[in-house]
């Protein structure tokens, strides 16, 4: 689709992930809320159309986009080279440091220590392939369906440590487990991007412009501070192996 087509329709169908607290979740009133949601609303406001949210999951978001069930994605989805072969990324709009969390007594200082422990990760997220890449080959990896079960696996002692979003810390603290578990180290930057179908050049240009403008005017920084509670890092506009221009 193009922005013009969306304007003609009067509604934009946007894929958002609702099981990613605090990026996207359902609030007390049953409404969609979170960082991604506000951004999606901002986009439709600029387009002058209504918004229709399609709740996506880690497993179906790419097929849903490729098949045209949604117009574009505003997911908390990590930009990876593999995914970039299938879908078209917009330049990064947020970041989420990939962090290892573990039991206090687990001696994990860096990637090489992972091999001595059982590590949990959210399957279908970008954390999974990253973990496979950085951890020693003999690492025992346990994969779970979503963030909640991954964190739960750590809390219930089924795994020694988990690799994932920096926001897991919010959860660990707020469930009263801050004393038993701790942040170990940062594994990597994690740049997140919206995505459109390959070939939707006008849509891509529009969104690239959107991200650039609101990085400029500080709107994105403000939202990030509001939801994630820390400052938004300075984000790159190019990444090796990923094309943001739609021209290649």
């Amino acid at each position: 689709v193009t922005p013009e087509e969306i304007k003609a329709k009067g509604t934009a169908t946007i894929g958002v992930q609702m099981d990613q607290f605090p990026w996207g979740f359902i609030d007390q009133n049953g409404q969609n809320d979170g960082f991604d949601i506000e951004i999606a609303k901002l986009i439709t406001k600029e387009l002058g159309v209504d918004v229709k949210f399609e709740r996506i999951t880690g497993q179906n978001r790419i097929p849903l986009l490729v098949n045209g069930n949604v117009d574009f994605l505003v997911p908390s989805m990590t930009i990876t080279e593999e995914r970039a072969k299938v879908i078209q990324y917009v330049i990064p709009y947020s970041s989420n440091d990939i962090t290892v969390w573990g039991k206090n007594d687990a001696e994990i200082q860096g990637n090489d220590d992972l091999g001595n422990y059982v590590i949990g990760v959210n399957r279908g997220s970008a954390f999974d392939p990253l973990l496979v890449k950085v951890a020693p080959a003999n690492t025992q990896i346990k994969r779970f369906d979503d963030d909640a079960t991954t964190v739960q696996a750590l809390l219930s002692g089924q795994v020694d440590a988990i690799l994932g979003s920096v926001t897991y810390g919010l959860v660990i603290n707020q469930t009263g487990n801050g004393d038993t578990f701790e942040r170990k180290y940062k594994v990597a930057d994690n740049f997140q991007g919206m995505a459109v179908r390959k070939g939707d050049q006008e849509m891509l240009d529009f969104l690239n412009d959107f991200v650039a403008r609101h990085t400029e005017d500080g709107v994105l920084d403000e939202l990030y501070k509001k939801w994630i509670g820390s400052d938004r890092a300075k984000l790159p506009t190019t990444l090796p192996g990923v094309d943001f221009t739609g021209k290649e």
């Binding site: 099981d19 979740f25 045209g68 069930n69 369906d145 909640a148 079960t149 964190v151 469930t175």
Partner: protein, 216 residues
């Protein structure tokens, strides 16, 4: 900032349960009609029809519903057929349901003693009335317990609709678990709701079974 699992969260689950019920009814009505056709095909006197329906049952009973749904929703568009979520769910669940019900009902039709349909034939009653007035009413009673226990499984099976983005009961549970990070409480509540939806059915089935046994 993290929510606790409380009353509002429970209501959210109930909202998801609404879809579970709608989906089950949909699958059961459409799939049931199709299943009857499959059962009649399986018991027909034409060999070709029997073979086709047997193959149909094999395929749709032999693959997980998850994969069937995936194909209808994500696969058909590859053939240039874009399907709406509800159309896809109706097709996917109905194929699945009709294969299972077809097989259950085939068994019940065959469990009606041959003498019954012979007596009807000897009276000159044609196929349609023989089925409608003589065989099916009896087969229905025989197949009811199995049908209901399948229905219970179907209700639980509709959880897979989450794959197509529908927030039904199980998916609501996952969402809530990811907001409250209290999976055990959330899934306990989910189980409770399923239990409340399903238990009247199993209760009916037990009663019917008892009545049928007593009638013998």
């Amino acid at each position: 900032m993290i929510r606790q699992f409380g009353w509002g969260e429970f209501l959210f689950l109930l909202e998801g349960a609404r879809w579970t019920v709608v989906l089950s009814l949909l699958a059961f009505t459409v799939g049931g009609a199709l299943g009857l056709a499959v059962a009649l095909g399986r018991t027909s006197k034409w060999k070709l029809l029997r073979m086709v329906t047997a193959a149909y049952i094999q395929v749709f009973q032999g693959t997980p519903l998850l994969i069937q749904l995936f194909f209808v929703y994500f696969g058909l568009p590859l053939l240039g057929l874009k399907v709406d979520v509800w159309v896809a769910l109706t097709i996917g669940l109905s194929l699945h349901t009709s294969a299972f019900l077809g097989e259950i009902w085939r068994g019940s039709i065959q469990a009606v003693p041959d003498g019954q349909s012979e007596a009807a034939r000897a009276l000159g009653i044609g196929y349609v009335h023989r089925m409608v007035d003589v065989v099916l009413p009896q087969a229905f009673r025989i197949g009811l317990p199995a049908t209901i226990s399948f229905l219970v499984n179907l209700i639980k099976g509709t959880a897979l609709a989450a794959l197509l983005g529908l927030t039904e009961l199980t998916r609501s549970g996952q969402l809530m678990a990811n907001i409250t990070f209290q999976p055990l409480q959330v899934y306990g509540a989910v189980a409770l709701i399923y239990f409340c939806i399903c238990v009247p059915l199993t209760y009916c089935s037990a009663r019917i079974e008892r009545r049928l046994n007593a009638a013998r």
